[in-house]
């Protein structure tokens, strides 16, 4: 398969350049952390519990696109598909800390876990209290009894949205953490990939998929999923994905959920909407009410073609924080 064509400058500088673009587009709402690859909000309320998110780059708008009001306060951005370094995390952590501790929310990957843990230990030495919520929403990544082996994918967004709302309202770090854990524990996702993305610096696709096949459960870096299928219709794939997601929590008749249809990169909005339609039909059949639906690019994998489906089961508390107005590069709601 041909290498993807990209409109970039020197790929070694891509993370730095995209952060400049993000800060420019924010019109003053975001600041760059010196010349580092991290963004922080221009104004962070005194005495606020800080919310720090972050991870490898290449998944834009995740994570820096969700730094904003009632969302996260800062995000260190690693190189493409590489967790940020402890130094960068720690510096960003210092920049957002307002005396009430820092909640760190990120995807559950070995690299992120280790680097954020190191930063947390260093922060602790400096007298800053931190809490950690690792998102592991990808039901394709491991069986339920090894849930802590699962990857974090687009469900990151729901956890960030809820944690962001909680961090804006609640004054106690442990309380914010409790709400974020609840959001995480009620969130399940699964992806499907039709074609691979590539890493700018190597120019190579991260995996190969035959012309007539798709892969269900593919991870956000091209980590393998659980089944290859011959290309088939959208309704069949959506049905298989929804089945696997519903059974996992399990979601049940009478539940109320938030739905996220996430573009993994190069998929058309047409496809996203066709799947949105089908998921709504299926949930209705199962007696599950959809409180709100978000459709778009939330956690991408470069020009990977495909999408993921995320459901979060709601209670009044989760609904309240999910529905709070928010404003950032990638997500604004009144």
């Amino acid at each position: 398969m041909a290498r993807p064509k990209k409109l970039l400058n020197n790929p070694v500088d891509v993370v730095s350049e995209l952060i400049d673009g993000l800060v420019a587009a924010s019109g003053g709402d975001l600041q760059r952390l010196g010349d580092r690859n991290a963004v922080v909000r221009d104004r962070i309320a005194d005495d606020k519990v800080a919310l720090l998110i972050g991870g490898g780059s290449g998944h834009e708008p995740m994570f820096p696109g969700f730094v904003g009001s009632n969302l996260a306060d800062g995000a260190p951005c690693g190189e493409v598909f590489a967790a940020p370094t402890p130094d960068l995390i720690l510096d960003t952590l210092h920049a957002v800390h307002r005396g009430r501790g820092v909640l760190m929310v990120y995807g559950n990957y070995a690299g992120d876990n280790m680097n954020f843990d190191i930063a947390a230990e260093l922060a602790e030495e400096a007298g800053i209290v931190t809490r950690t919520v690792r998102v592991w929403d990808d039901v394709a990544a491991a069986p339920l009894d090894r849930i802590t082996d699962r990857r974090g994918i687009a469900g990151d967004f729901f956890v960030i949205k809820v944690a962001g709302g909680a961090a804006a309202e609640l004054t106690d770090l442990d309380e914010v953490c409790r709400v974020a854990v609840k959001a995480r524990d009620n969130t399940r996702s699964m992806g499907v990939a039709l074609a691979a993305g590539s890493i700018p610096e190597t120019g190579e696709r991260t995996f190969e998929l035959p012309e007539d096949e798709l892969e269900i459960g593919m991870g956000a870096h091209g980590e393998p999923g659980i089944a290859r299928r011959k290309m088939t219709d959208a309704d069949a794939i959506a049905g298989e994905m929804v089945d696997r997601i519903l059974v996992d929590l399990p979601f049940q008749s009478g539940d109320e959920v938030a739905l996220l249809i996430n573009n993994l990169g190069a998929t058309t909005q047409m496809e996203l909407l066709v799947v949105t339609r089908r998921v709504h039909q299926l949930l209705k059949e199962r007696g599950i009410a959809v409180h709100r639906t978000d459709v778009g690019s939330f956690l991408t994998c470069q020009e990977m073609a495909g999408l993921s489906i995320t459901l979060m089961r709601l209670d009044d508390e989760l609904k309240r924080y999910l529905d709070m107005p928010a404003r950032s590069f990638a997500y604004s709601r009144s």
Binding site: G111, A141, T206
Partner: protein
């Protein structure tokens, strides 16, 4: 063949290691494409290019300091799993040289043993999960066995054990890192981090032998 390295020699050795890793970027990337996310080579290049720079500026106080500076550079620049793992290996392992004038076989064995211990604590992985630990652990054993002899022999024997460890990862199913969900499909492929670790030891061996 040197039997105890001075801090200056340790620094030159690590600079040579760094150049070797930087030169191996394509091979390492290719291996990570097979079972990971395809970035291991470029990550190691970031980290070890920083090691080369750090070595140029290292103050030669002690071997421990030289190794710790290398670890700090790796930690600060690599990112990803490899940054935490190799940064931890060098930073925690460097403590084995504390109070020693130079780098000898016992110090080297201590470096691997303490490094291994710290890496296992940091990432929670154990031997058999198809990580760099599967090269590091046998290398640590081999170095401990050779700790009473010459540095050259200890490093040679550790490097050989690491290389065997790399081969052994072919038969393992990954259960941590980005290869985790490959399951059986990870069989037949070597672990990229294990290869990197082995390149580090082989390059130390060649420096000492030269």
């Amino acid at each position: 063949m040197r039997d105890t390295l001075t801090p200056a020699e340790a620094r030159d050795m690590l600079a040579a290691v760094a150049r070797h890793i930087v030169a191996s970027v394509d091979m390492l990337t290719e291996i990570d494409q097979a079972i990971g996310d395809g970035d291991h080579g470029i990550g190691m290049r970031r980290g070890f290019a920083a090691v080369e720079e750090a070595m140029a500026g290292s103050d030669l106080q002690s071997v421990a300091k030289v190794f710790k500076d290398a670890g700090t550079a790796i930690m600060a620049k690599t990112g990803g799993a490899a940054g935490a793992v190799f940064g931890t290996l060098f930073r925690a392992g460097s403590a084995a040289f504390d109070g020693r004038d130079g780098m000898d076989a016992a110090g080297f064995a201590g470096f691997l043993a303490q490094g291994l211990d710290a890496v296992e604590k940091r990432g929670g992985a154990k031997p058999g999960q198809k990580t760099m630990i599967d090269a590091l652990a046998p290398a640590a054993v081999a170095a401990a066995d050779a700790a009473g002899g010459s540095l050259g022999e200890a490093v040679r024997s550790a490097a050989a054990a690491a290389r065997q460890g790399v081969e052994a990862t072919k038969g393992m199913i990954a259960t941590t890192g980005k290869a985790r969900t490959l399951g059986e499909r990870s069989l037949g492929h070597v672990d990229p981090g294990a290869v990197s670790f082995t390149l580090i030891l082989e390059s130390m061996r060649d420096y000492i032998a030269a």
